[in-house]
């Protein structure tokens, strides 16, 4: 007997797949010298239509394909998150690809594939589904990282990412096999039933540690962070942006679903692991960032630091902690992508990612300098921007769970991070420019930049509805105990 498939639940993923296949066909049919970036334009339009479609799915919930695919408020929230991230990544890609002589369109296919993988991760209800969707996401990211075939940094980053990424997926699979061996199933529902009635045993613990290693690789947590600085520096900038926001959020959606839902009955055991990991991760990231000279590498270390802050929410282990993670990620999306938009636009005209070359950007392009300033200050957590309120909710959740020492370490880390963010700000505003030529920005990019600014300032001032959405996402999750 075959299970019934509820097509309406998987309609967004189907739509993404159809778009992807349609674009590939279109690419074959269109003559190569049409001269216009059709794939980019159609991709962006399709993305906006999909966001409209996504907003109609708000109250959709249920499971299909025998529990492999689940749709709930958490999946809905994160699918919107990934679509929103793509709204920034697509224009970034368009700017970036201008410097490539050919092979432009294939990049969009890979971006769509990564989007499909991320949406499936958010909806997976079975470890097999989880493994396959993570692989869809990661394999397309390997290709995108090594995309600049003639650039040795890109190749080196791709090779390193591939080796460590494949190692992480080997860990994930080996861990799943032990969970399967003990519980006789890979479905989250069955495993949750097992976890609720049994105590943790060494075999399960071994499997869980391996699975956490794979998640830790995705979210860039110590000790699985080794790839981050190298890959962030070497990858094409839009890919770095996607890695820092999309891939990290995909890791956190699994983390929330597994450790706040499926394995919630073992909360005391894993909470005591997350707290020291969070402390180590944020210290490593923020100390490593102190003396960086390449802005993408700086953001790599800063992204490790932010993974540490986010893990605080996981260590808190309460619904408030999960909501704080969701809200912080939303703020992090606008802030980080705003910064990467500036990095891309700067790279297109100056062909450099060195922080020293950013000297005097304020006189060359007040808009770019202003947006970067806002993003850096928000990442550091200065009120009234969104980064401040995100950190505030995370700290509140941590203190409520009685982890006062962790909150104190986070506070110290915020101060450390201010130092290296403000060093960049000093370059932008105090140092004299090396060249005086202004940086041209097209009006469409201006619009995208202002959208990011609206997110950073808007969510910081009017937090209510967004915090509520983050809360709803965490409270309506499947497998909640």
């Amino acid at each position: 007997m075959f299970p019934i498939i509820h097509w309406n639940l998987i309609s967004l993923e189907l739509l993404i797949t159809v778009t992807l296949v349609g674009l590939i066909v279109l690419d074959i049919l269109l003559p190569p010298e049409t001269g216009k970036d059709w794939t980019g334009l159609i991709s962006f339009t399709a993305l906006l239509i999909m966001i409209g479609f996504w907003s109609t799915q708000r109250n959709l919930s249920g499971e299909t394909m025998g529990g492999m695919f689940i749709m709930d408020s958490l999946a809905w929230f994160f699918k919107g998150f990934f679509l929103l991230a793509m709204v920034f990544v697509f224009p970034m890609t368009r700017q970036f690809l201008k410097s490539l002589p050919k092979w432009r369109n294939e990049f969009y296919f890979l971006l769509w594939l990564a989007l499909l993988g991320m949406c499936l991760v958010a909806s997976s209800g079975d470890f097999l589904m989880l493994f396959i969707s993570i692989e869809i996401l990661t394999i397309s990211l390997y290709v995108m990282t090594a995309y600049l075939k003639s650039d040795h940094h890109s190749l080196e980053a791709g090779m390193k990412y591939l080796i460590l990424g494949a190692l992480a997926s080997g860990f994930l699979l080996y861990g799943i096999s032990f969970l399967y061996g003990v519980t006789h199933s890979t479905g989250f529902a069955v495993i949750q039933g097992y976890a609720a009635t049994h105590a943790m045993n060494p075999t399960i613990l071994f499997g869980l540690v391996l699975i956490f290693a794979a998640i830790g690789f995705k979210i860039a947590s110590v000790p699985f962070h080794l790839w981050v600085p190298d890959v962030y520096q070497g990858a094409p900038t839009p890919v770095t942006a996607l890695l820092s926001v999309g891939s990290k959020a995909a890791g956190f959606v699994i983390l929330i679903r597994l450790f706040f839902g499926v394995f919630a009955s073992w909360h005391p055991q894993w909470s005591s692991v997350f707290a020291p990991l969070a402390a180590l991760t944020m210290c490593y990231g923020n100390l490593g960032a102190l003396f960086q000279t390449n802005i993408k590498r700086l953001f790599g270390y800063s992204s490790i630091g932010h993974a540490g802050y986010l893990l605080m929410g996981a260590a808190a282990g309460s619904i408030l902690g999960a909501s704080a993670i969701n809200f912080y990620l939303l703020g992090y999306l606008f802030t980080n992508l705003a910064a990467f938009l500036v990095i891309v636009l700067f790279f297109v005209t100056n062909k450099s990612d060195e922080i020293n070359d950013y000297a005097g950007l304020a006189t060359r392009s007040p808009l770019l300098a202003g947006v970067l300033l806002l993003a850096l200050v928000s990442l550091a957590g200065v009120p009234p921007l969104v980064g401040f309120f995100g950190k505030f909710t995370l700290l509140m959740a941590t203190v409520q769970s009685g982890l006062l020492w962790l909150a104190l370490i986070a506070a110290v880390n915020v101060i450390i991070s201010l130092y290296y963010y403000l060093i960049v700000v000093k370059r932008l505003y105090v140092d004299p420019p090396r060249v005086n030529s202004p940086i041209p920005i097209s009006s469409s990019m201006r619009f995208i930049l202002w959208m990011a600014v609206a997110g950073i300032v808007g969510i910081g001032i009017i937090q209510g509805p967004f915090l509520e959405a983050a809360m709803t996402a965490a409270k309506g999750m499947c497998f909640l105990p």
């Binding site: 494949a166 080997g170 080996y174 399967y180």
Partner: protein
């Protein structure tokens, strides 16, 4: 009598060989081979659990894993070819530009 333990021991051995191979090998092709060993070890333990638990889901998973492993190694080899063209070497420790 060969039992579940023996199979798990073998798969654990394969997995360790894979992990050690990745850490000590300097040749990227050997590293890719070791990565394949990791997935093979997982496959073995899936099949062993499936056989001794008496349900077939585990064997089904193996088919999917073989597919994913093929995709992964295809991308891996493509990057290795590019790397050889660019650096004229297969030694992983030649990849050291990205450091401070």
């Amino acid at each position: 009598m060969i039992g579940l333990g023996h199979y798990l021991l073998l798969s654990g051995f394969l997995f360790s060989v894979g992990v050690i191979g990745i850490t000590i090998n300097r040749n990227v092709l050997k590293i890719l081979l070791s990565l394949e060993l990791l997935l093979a070890a997982s496959n073995l333990s899936f099949v062993a659990f499936s056989r001794f638990n008496g349900d077939y889901a585990g064997q089904l998973i193996v088919f999917f894993v073989i597919l994913v492993a093929a995709a992964e190694v295809a991308i891996g080899l493509a990057i290795v070819v590019l790397m050889y063209r660019h650096f004229s070497t297969l030694q992983a420790d030649q990849l050291k530009d990205l450091k401070w």
